[in-house]
Structure formats: structure tokens, C-alpha cells
């Protein structure tokens, strides 16, 4: 069964995000840092009258913090809080048919927790990621 996916660029890689997890896509304005918090927390930002927690996606994936983080983010709602997951770029929204990861493929670093399948886009495989895995401090994932 095909589902709607958002295709984005994170850390130079194309990833697919199931559209049900995406509340909106925004440009984040001023980010207020949260000293003392986990490095994955990039800070807080105001989104209309709400405060969203901005997640540094590169750090969440176990990569180096980018000196020039992007300002584009995917807003997702998880356990009563809103999070802005920073992405480098957004490419497309289209229906795809997700398939499980082929056995034998072991993902690196934070990708392992986040990756949950593959879609085929113009003959090219794109990793499906679960945004909830990028949110630090969240409790166990639903499969």
C-alpha cells in the first residue's frame, strides 16, 4: 500500500519521512539556546504562539554539528510537545511504497535507530526515517 512521503535532505543524504509524522514545514527564526541540555537540542524557537524544541538532526544522527545549521525544519508532534527537526532541504512530497530494509544492511550511527525502511524513488533507494527516533529523551519507539 502506498503512503505519502516527504523527501528531504539531511546531512547530505536524501531521506523519506512518512507524512503522518509531519505537522508542517517551516523556516525557523531566532533560536534560543538551552545551556546544559543534550547536544542534540539545538535550542528553542517560537512558532506562532508555541514554543518548539529545535533538534540538531546531524548531532542526533551521531554526526558532527554543522557550523552553519539550516533554518528549515519539519515540525512534528510527539508526546505532547512540538519539535522542529532541522533539515538541509526539502525536495518532494509523493506517494511511495515502503519496503523493509534488506537483511544484511546495517546502518551506521544514529541512522540505525532512525532508519525503518526503504522507498524506491526513480530507481534509487531512499532511506525512510522515523522522526521520533531523532527526538532525544523520548521513550521507546512504537515499531
Amino acid at each position: 500500500m502506498s503512503q505519502l512521503f516527504l523527501i528531504a535532505q539531511i546531512a547530505g543524504r536524501a531521506v523519506a519521512i512518512e507524512s503522518g509524522q509531519v505537522e508542517s514545514v517551516v523556516d525557523i527564526g531566532n533560536i534560543v539556546p538551552v545551556p546544559g541540555a543534550d547536544r542534540q537540542i539545538h535550542g528553542l524557537a517560537a512558532l506562532r504562539s508555541r514554543v518548539v524544541t529545535v533538534v540538531d538532526t546531524r548531532v542526533a544522527l551521531g554526526l558532527e554539528h554543522s557550523p552553519t545549521p539550516s533554518t528549515r525544519a519539519v515540525i512534528t508532534h510527539h508526546e505532547g510537545h512540538h519539535y522542529a527537526i532541522l533539515v538541509d532541504a526539502l525536495e518532494d512530497v509523493a506517494p511511495f511504497e515502503p519496503t523493509p530494509l534488506s537483511s544484511g544492511i546495517v546502518l551506521d550511527l544514529g541512522w540505525r535507530a532512525a532508519g525503518c525502511g526503504v522507498i524506491e524513488r526513480d530507481g534509487e533507494p531512499v532511506l525512510v526515517i522515523d522522526l521520533r527516533a531523532l527526538i532525544p529523551g523520548s521513550t521507546a519507539l512504537a515499531a
Binding site: N30, V32, P33, V34, P35, G36, A37, D38, Q40, I41, L44, A45, A46, R48, S49, R50, V51, T53, E79, G80, H81, Y83, I135, P136, G137, S138
Partner: protein, 770 residues
């Protein structure tokens, strides 16, 4: 009390409406336990509320019904048709009485004995002759509306959006020059938005005092009923809590307090034997901790005997003994929440049946809270109710550290001091910094270091003395900014995990801000306070508190005193924030311009210490050289020779010190706020826009309120026009006509429009002519 009664009526009416379905269902299936519980809870709640609202008839009815229902719950009675009918007749009667109370009508109570008698076995005959429900002729027109809190939530978030939109608009307008008319419109919008916001906020918030105020009476009455004597201590009554939460907390609190007096606190004789004071002590406190409000009810009674509790649960066949033996002590204590359990042998009208506790827990959990019990056998029981802070408004102080703003709950702050002088110093004890504030030594925590910045704590300019449970510490910050009322919401778990934040908020600036958790900071800094034993404060007489005063060096070199109560805060401002403008010295602050008093030269100082003095709406700033110390104000005052900024001289440690005359200061410098209803100057006719723009400041300076149209019931003190013909309103007020030409024809009474002295003279004349 009227409020409570109104609430009780509204609530009972509402529950009755919700219950009517249950009643019908119970009638058809009398063995349905859920329905039974729902009706039971209703009569129990009514009984509880009647207790402290002093409604004996309702209390009697609900108590009787509750007895029977409890018997059914315990399996002593079977719910046959007669019993169901009798209970329903009572529920109906409760509804009638409540309506009667609401309209203030009297209701004949003749049938009530029969109704109660009908509850007894074999009383079915009586039901038939019970009076039929006679609906009161009319319901009182309600003066209040009960709203869904969701709606208020939506209103609140819409309000926040509006504030942000206004801010953005203001920012943009500042960037490109706009005509004054637009600015005035924006001003008006801002004012309205601010007012609206306050109102909307108020709709949700209530001081917890609303919950606590009924307690003293209730404790007294309850204690009298069981012949015990109980002293009640209440703390933290001004903590604000969501209105809905306050309503939800009312029943649990009543139940807990009644239980504490009935079960917890022993009879005086028993207390004497146990070596306690005959007076039982019941302490109820509310405080904010992290992102929660904690309400603690502590008694010094006998505590909970967990072994007896277990035995009781086993005896009532609720759980097997083997199962219970495996439980931890804490879990055993939690058995108190088991439905249908009672720890006391006999049932009293006060608590009894332990029903309170399962209802209590259900109520608290419904608002996302939890209950914790701490019991020491023979020493007492503490019940802590944690409810989330969501949507709580708290008063905060903004502080700056490393260029970032944070909020501190004002409740935790004891005082704010500036480092310097002998009274306030920072020293190193080994490698640990310690602050000494007027001979009080306390640990120093540098906020920057706690937040992970590299800093030298010896160089900080400001200390915030923070009180946490167990002790106080000095929190070193770079800057103290302002006070603000904020709506605090919980932050994401990953943010809370840092351990030093209590929540997040979105202030007017549009930039998110974090609320610091004072207890968390102390823990993160590794502070350790030895908890002082709960001391019985033996009725300390209030020492005349009005007598504290701040000693300071004034700019002219004199030493002066100012009463502490009037000082809102002391702050350090840059020298260029003080200007001589519009005829007097003024200080620019974040929130506006405040008149400033300086007794000497401030110009050569890069930063000036300023006392911010406030008397209701009047605010003035007083520049000083340095704040020195706090003293009790000596009673003897030698008055000054003539009225002025100094009221007189007092002797302080053998030194002559001048005391500021607050009355004189506010009378002479606090005049920025215009009096309540300034006379109205009506601007009429064509050219209103010109007059508004050019003359308004002049007119307002002369003490008028300028209007282009009169409100209802308002009359103009003077009318200003540029038309040749007299306006209609002229009939009632003197008219000043302005003309465009500098030279007027003879016998023309008009004033040239740029002739300021002429206009002021005309105004003065018109005022005199009235």
C-alpha cells in the same frame, strides 16, 4: 461563602444532569457496580460539601443514602426495587433542595423523614406516600456561565498569537517612518490587547487561597465534632493555579483534611500518653517545585499502620495475603487507595469508609497529578499532591547571564543585591566561593558555571538570594532585568533532563525563554542543606515590620535612610539613561520613562545605582551613590527644619542620618500619573487632525484629556475649534477658537494657532470662567 455555595449549586446541578442517565441505568440493572459507584460518589460528594457549607438537611439526606449504598457495596444489602426507589427519591430530593437554595425559596421538609425511613428494610410502603417531586416554579436566572476550559484554552492561545502579531506590526512600523495617526492607532491597539490579555489570563487563574480559605472553619468544626483540638497552619496561599485545577482539588483536599483529623490525629488523652502536645498540628502548604505545584497536607498524628492496613484488606477479601506480603512498604501504604477500604473500625459522619481516598486519587489523576504518601508510624502522615503547572501563571524576575535571558520564579527569591561594599562580599573558602550578605554566609552558585560557561565567580555584579527547601543560596547573575507575569508550560523532556529548568514560556519579545528551577540549580551545583527539623514556631509576635530601612550614601555625600517597604528594587543603570528632558530629570527604563530624583551629580558616573520606589501606580527613581546596609528604623525622629526631600534626622549607631520624606518625594516628583479623571478638552470641527497632532501634547501638558468625540455621560470642560461657526457642543462649555492668520481683525476673540502662551492663557481663563 456565597461563592462556595454558588459553586456547590452549579456543580450539584451539573452532576445531577450527568447522573440522570446513570440513575435510569441503575434502576434497570441494580447490580451494576459502576453505576452504583457513580451514584455513591455523588451522594458522598454532596455530603462532604454540605459539611462545610452548613446545610444540615442535605447532609442528613445524603448521609442516609450513603449508608445504604455503602451497605450495598459491602454486600450487606441487596439492591431491590424498594431500595433503588428510595435512593432515587433521595437523589431527586437533593436536586429539589439545591434548586430551592438557589432561588432562596423555602421547601417543606415534612417528607424527608419518610424518605429516609424508606431506605430501611421493608420500608417500601413509605415510598408511596413520600411527596411527589414538586418542581420549583422557576429556576434562578444564572449570573455566571460555566465555560468549557477548552474554549478558554483556545482563547488564550489566540490571545498569545494576537500579542505576537501586534509586536511584529510594531517592529515593522518602527522600521519605516509612519504618520502619527497610524502610531496612535497602534498605541490604542496595544492598550486593548494588553487589557484583553490580562482579562483572558484571569479567566483561567485563581489564587489557591480560593481553595484554602474555607479550611480554617472546616478544620475547627470537624475537630470539634470529634472532640479533638487541631492547630492549622497554611502556607503559600498566593500560589496561582488553573481555575479548573482548583475546582478539581476541592473535594480531594476536603477528604484528606477530614481524614487527617478523624483518623490521623489522636484524641488529646492518647496524644498525652504518646508524649505529644495535646493540640494536633495540621500543616497545609502549596508551593511550586519544578513544573509542578505541590500541595502538602501534614499531620502529626499516628501515621498509617501498614500491617493493620494489610490485615484489613485481607479481612475484607479484596486481595490475598500472600500477594500482599510481597509488596514493598510503599506499595502497602498505597493500599489505602483500594476502593471500598476503611482503616477505622467504626463509621463516623466525618470520613469513614475510606471512600475518600480512592475518589481522591481518581480526581487528582484526572488532572494529570499524582499523590504521594509519607508515613511514619506514631509520628504522622504527609500527603503530597503534585499537580502539573500547565498553564499556571507565575510572577517571575528576568535575569541575564552570558547574554541570554532566563526567568526565575519570584516566589523563590528572597532578595536581590549588588556585590560591593562591606555588607555584601564574595570570598573563596578553599576553592569554593561563598557569599556574605550582611553577615549571613551562604553558598554561592554561579549560574553561568551551572549552565556550562567558563567564568570567574568572583567577578559577578549581582546576587539573587534564593530560598529552597532546607536553606538559601546566592545565585550569581550578570544582570537583573525586570519582573514579568508569565504563562509557563512544560518543556520537552530532553530540555527538562538538563535538571535546571522548570518550564518554558513565550514572553512578549517573541523569543522563547526558559524558567529556571531553583531547587534543580542547587542540586546541579552540588549544594547540600541539612534539613532542619520541623520546629514548632511558638506564636512569634510580629515585630513591627514597617521599621526596616535601607542606609545608603547619597550622591551629595550624605548618608540617608529610606524605608525598605517602598523600594521595589535597586538597579544599576548606565549614566546616559538619565536625561534632563521635558523640564525634569528622567530615567529611561525597559518599560517606559520614570521621573528621577538626584541630589547630586551623576554625570561623571558610568553607571548609577538607582532605587526604584513605588507607591501604587506612582513610580519614581532615586539615584544614589551606594546602598550600604539595612537597619531597623529608629523610633525617634527629629523633624527637618522645613519640608523637603528629607523628613528629618535619626540617630543610627551614634551617627546622624537623614531619613527621606517619601510623602514629599512622591508629591513633588511622582506626578507623571495624571489624576483619575482629567478634564476633557473636546476638539471639534474641521482640522481635527491638525489639532490632534500639534496641540495634543500642549493640552495634555496643561492637564487635559484630549478627545475628538465625547463619550456617553461625559462633558467637555473646554471646546477647541478652528471653524468660524460655533459647534453644537459649545452650548455647554467655553469655546476657544483658533485661527490660521497671525494677525487678527480687531474684536476677534480667537487665538492664533501657533500662539502657545495665548492658548494656555485662554485655557486658564476658560477654567476660571466655569
Amino acid at each position: 461563602m456565597d461563592d462556595l455555595l454558588q459553586e456547590f449549586i452549579a456543580e450539584t446541578r451539573e452532576t445531577l444532569e450527568a447522573l440522570s442517565g446513570e440513575i435510569v441505568a441503575w434502576e434497570s440493572a441494580p447490580h451494576d457496580r459502576d453505576r452504583l459507584d457513580a451514584i455513591f460518589r455523588f451522594v458522598h460528594t454532596v455530603k462532604g460539601s454540605c459539611g462545610f457549607l452548613d446545610l444540615p438537611r442535605l447532609a442528613r439526606l445524603s448521609h442516609a443514602a450513603e449508608d445504604v449504598l455503602a451497605a450495598v457495596r459491602d454486600g450487606h444489602r441487596t439492591p431491590d426495587t424498594a431500595l433503588v426507589n428510595a435512593v432515587l427519591a433521595i437523589v431527586d430530593r437533593i436536586g429539589e433542595i439545591v434548586e430551592a437554595i438557589d432561588v432562596g425559596a423555602s421547601l417543606d421538609d415534612s417528607g424527608e423523614d419518610l424518605l429516609i425511613a424508606a431506605l430501611d428494610k421493608g420500608g417500601d410502603a413509605a415510598v408511596a406516600c413520600a411527596p411527589q417531586a414538586q418542581t420549583p416554579a422557576l429556576r434562578n436566572a444564572t449570573r455566571s456561565v460555566r465555560l468549557n476550559v477548552d474554549l478558554l484554552d483556545r482563547m488564550m492561545s489566540g490571545m498569545s498569537d494576537m500579542v505576537l502579531a501586534r509586536n511584529e506590526l510594531a517592529r515593522r512600523l518602527r522600521d519605516d517612518d509612519v504618520e502619527p495617526g497610524v502610531e496612535a492607532a497602534l498605541e490604542r491597539l496595544s492598550l486593548t490587547v494588553a487589557e484583553m490579555r490580562e482579562t483572558v489570563t484571569r479567566t483561567r487563574m485563581q489564587k489557591i487561597d480560593a481553595l484554602f480559605s474555607a479550611l480554617p472553619r472546616m478544620v475547627r468544626d470537624t475537630a470539634a465534632e470529634v472532640a479533638k483540638s487541631v492547630t492549622l497552619h497554611i502556607e503559600g496561599a498566593d500560589v496561582e493555579l488553573d481555575r479548573e485545577m482548583i475546582e478539581m482539588m476541592r473535594d480531594p483536599l476536603v477528604h484528606i483534611v477530614r481524614n487527617a483529623i478523624d483518623h490521623g490525629i489522636e484524641a488529646p488523652a492518647e496524644r498525652r500518653i504518646a508524649g505529644k502536645r495535646e493540640n494536633g498540628r495540621l500543616a497545609i502548604s502549596a508551593r511550586q517545585s519544578g513544573n509542578q505545584i505541590i500541595i502538602e497536607i501534614t499531620d502529626d498524628g499516628r501515621g498509617v499502620d501498614t500491617e493493620r492496613l494489610v490485615a484489613k484488606v485481607v479481612a475484607q477479601g479484596l486481595r490475598s495475603e500472600a500477594e500482599l506480603r510481597l509488596l514493598s512498604d510503599k506499595a502497602k501504604l498505597d493500599l489505602i487507595f483500594e476502593p471500598g477500604l476503611s482503616t477505622k473500625e467504626e463509621v463516623t459522619s466525618i470520613s469513614g469508609r475510606g471512600v475518600g481516598m480512592d475518589v481522591v486519587r481518581a480526581n487528582v489523576e484526572q488532572i494529570g497529578g499524582r499523590i504521594e504518601l509519607f508515613s511514619t508510624l506514631g509520628q504522622g502522615l504527609t500527603i503530597a499532591i503534585h499537580v502539573p503547572l500547565t498553564l499556571s501563571i507565575i510572577s517571575t524576575i528576568g535575569i541575564g547571564v552570558e547574554g541570554q535571558r532566563f526567568a526565575l520564579p519570584r516566589q523563590a527569591i528572597e532578595e536581590i543585591v549588588r556585590v560591593g561594599g562591606d555588607a555584601i562580599r564574595i570570598d573563596m573558602l578553599g576553592d569554593t566561593p561563598a557569599a556574605t550578605v550582611r553577615e549571613r554566609r551562604m553558598p554561592l552558585v554561579d549560574l553561568g558555571q551551572v549552565l556550562g560557561f567558563e567564568r570567574d565567580p568572583l567577578g559577578v555584579p549581582m546576587l539573587v538570594i534564593v530560598g529552597v527547601s532546607g536553606g538559601s543560596y546566592a545565585l550569581a547573575v550578570d544582570d537583573v532585568l525586570d519582573t514579568e507575569e508569565l504563562v509557563i508550560k512544560p518543556a520537552a523532556p530532553a530540555v527538562m533532563a538538563a535538571g535546571v529548568y522548570a518550564g518554558q514560556t513565550l514572553p512578549d519579545s517573541g523569543l522563547p525563554m526558559l524558567l529556571l528551577d531553583c531547587a534543580g540549580i542547587a542540586a546541579a551545583a552540588g549544594l547540600h542543606f541539612t534539613r532542619e527539623a520541623l520546629v514548632d514556631e511558638v506564636e512569634v509576635e510580629d515585630t513591627a515590620d514597617a521599621g526596616s530601612a535601607l542606609l545608603f550614601d547619597d550622591l551629595d555625600g550624605a548618608r540617608r535612610l529610606v524605608p525598605l517597604a517602598i523600594i521595589e528594587r535597586i538597579e544599576l543603570v548606565p549614566g546616559d539613561a538619565i536625561r534632563f528632558s521635558a523640564g525634569r530629570l528622567r530615567l529611561s527604563t525597559d518599560s517606559g520613562i520614570v521621573p528621577l530624583v538626584a541630589m547630586g551629580a551623576w554625570q561623571d558616573r558610568a553607571a548609577v545605582a538607582v532605587l526604584r520606589l513605588r507607591d501604587d501606580d506612582n513610580e519614581i527613581a532615586y539615584a544614589i551613590a551606594e546602598a550600604l546596609d539595612i537597619f531597623a528604623l529608629p523610633a525617634e525622629l527629629v523633624p527637618a527644619a522645613e519640608p523637603g526631600p528629607v523628613a528629618g534626622v535619626v540617630a543610627l549607631n551614634g551617627e546622624q542620618v537623614e531619613l527621606l520624606d517619601l510623602h514629599w518625594l512622591f508629591a513633588h516628583h511622582g506626578g507623571d500619573q495624571t489624576s483619575a479623571a482629567p478634564p476633557v478638552c473636546l476638539i471639534d470641527g474641521a482640522d481635527q487632525a491638525w489639532m490632534m497632532t500639534f496641540l495634543r501634547p500642549v493640552l495634555e501638558g496643561a492637564g487635559y484629556r484630549v478627545a475628538s468625540r465625547l463619550k456617553k455621560n461625559e462633558s467637555a470642560a473646554v471646546v477647541l475649534t478652528m471653524d468660524a461657526t460655533l459647534p453644537a457642543a459649545a452650548a455647554k462649555a467655553p469655546v476657544i477658537r483658533l485661527r490660521r492668520e497671525a494677525n487678527a481683525p480687531a474684536d476677534d476673540a480667537s487665538v492664533y494657532r501657533y500662539d502657545r502662551p495665548g492658548l494656555l492663557a485662554a485655557l486658564a481663563q476658560s477654567a476660571g470662567g466655569r
